[in-house]
Symmetry: C2
Subunit: 306 residues, 2 copies
């Protein structure tokens, strides 16, 4: 049994933020290698219009491939009900739809205000239910917005309730912009849990824009968060939120959680061997993280959960 | 009143780890600019033999200069009683002596085993007392050693007791090697506090070798730690601990603590203007941190303590 689930989002959030297109075969190697290292959930792509994000055009083929890997939960992102139908057709098990807490960001990003997004969520939820797909609403810009600045936590809690009413089976909290600080993480997780129920809020999606990513993980752990999104090599960010860069780094996250004696089910040594796949397929692309250079501590094996 | 004291150690820990010697005038500009940004404690140098660390040869002059800055606590490191006498002669207010918890590291670093170091600490403490100097014993490699690997926390607690018996007025916990993880920070702070008293353990010295630095700060905050050492731009590390690099970054630490609503007394905007002094004096030297690139969040001013 794993204590903490690490959900690798690099093939989606990482790749959608860079201009180059990773070849399908490299994506498959990446996904297979991470799964072999013990990563049990991977967001493989996004059902957005290929004209908008050509990097994600092969998402259906990746879903088909990833579904053949035993024990792997295959997640995709969808922006709307139309994307949800494509996800259902492709045979996805779990889908996440972003719902931006900053209405300005929502309108700018997907041209929908909050009421329109809630209608879209309800329509997507109906399709998810019909196909028995796990349906997550990710509250984007929940910790602040690069356009609006502060985002009212009481409004986040209210919108979380509305998303649940519209059919969300799970609420994720996303720091799309790298605005979160550890005190705020604790406050917001508490507030949203108290609005929609503890069991509905288990996932944090954090960025490392200001270097606070793993500090925010520690704050999340204190509040009972059990799933963290991260990206191998910290690849990526949000192309629609100016100034927002880089998910937290899977390698450093695994080192930290494993060293703390928490069971992630992931073999760090095997995980560190996945990075060359990215380096080869995307030469010169900036990759982040400290553990790939420093390696684990000498006494790492003594720290990890038996 | 500040909630959290940030002790800038870059002029000592940062500069001693690089080969180039920063000119005295640049060091003075750096110290003065940080003090003007609200940094109220700075470790300006180390009274080690200049032949060993020529980067620190001007420490007495820096102490004289820094003592003229109002409200600034001037700290130096000393390796032994001889260094303590030089510190006293220079008019230092506060001195820290490293006591390596890994006996192998201690012998390799200062050619003294634990009993010999405890004698040295007692001799240094006597000089400190005579001159009314605040005397801190920093437990180096407290979280693990690049030579020995795991360091027994029960032994750390015992050695902390012996250091107090030898005259330490304060016990610092130092992650010299970047080995600490957040769960270990909580455990070790608890254990050493319970051995020597809560009020004796207020300081953590953390490195960011594996990217866990700020995560370890959050763990320290949870255990009541109120002083954190850090280095502007993450400059430096420990030249005697192979593979150990870079203190936690002052800029990111200040952003995090201030955003959390904790009062550090430091003006982030002013602090960010200090970095060019390093860039100019040490061209090409690697500097770290995310906040200098990303800048504070749009709603930063709303987050900081009134």
């Amino acid at each position: 049994m794993t204590d903490i689930l690490i959900s690798e989002v690099g093939p989606r959030d990482g790749l959608q933020s860079i201009d180059r297109i990773m070849p399908l075969e490299a994506k498959k190697r990446w996904i297979a290698a991470e799964a072999a290292a013990g990563v049990s959930e991977i967001e493989v792509g996004s059902f957005v219009p290929p004209a908008l994000l050509p990097q994600m055009a092969d998402t259906a083929e990746l879903v088909e491939f990833a579904n053949t890997i035993e024990g792997l939960t295959v997640v995709t992102l969808v922006p709307n009900a139309k994307g949800m139908q494509r996800a259902a057709d492709a045979g996805v098990q779990s889908v996440s739809i972003p719902f931006s807490m900053s209405e300005t960001h929502s309108v700018k990003n997907v041209r929908k205000d909050h009421p329109a997004m809630l209608e879209e969520i309800a329509a997507a939820a109906a399709i998810a239910k019909e196909h028995d797909i796990h349906f997550v609403v990710g509250l984007a810009t929940a910790f602040g917005c690069t356009i609006e600045g502060a985002v009212d936590p009481a409004n986040v809690a209210r919108l979380a309730e509305k998303a649940v009413a519209a059919g969300a089976q799970e609420i994720g909290l996303s720091d799309t912009t790298g605005y979160a600080d550890p005190a705020q993480v604790r406050r917001l997780v508490k507030q949203v849990k108290s609005a929609v129920g503890d069991e509905m809020v288990t996932t944090l999606h954090l960025h490392n824009t200001r270097g606070l990513g793993l500090a925010n993980v520690v704050a999340g752990l204190e509040e009972g968060i059990t799933t963290f999104d991260s990206s191998l090599g910290g690849l990526g960010g949000c192309p629609f939120a100016p100034g927002a860069s880089g998910n937290i780094v899977t390698e450093d996250l695994v080192l930290m959680l494993n060293s703390m004696g928490l069971n992630t089910g992931i073999d760090l040594e095997k995980l560190l061997q996945v990075r060359p796949i990215l380096e080869e397929a995307l030469p010169g692309e900036p990759l982040y993280g400290f553990t790939p250079d420093a390696g684990p501590m000498l006494d790492y094996d003594q720290r990890v959960a038996a």
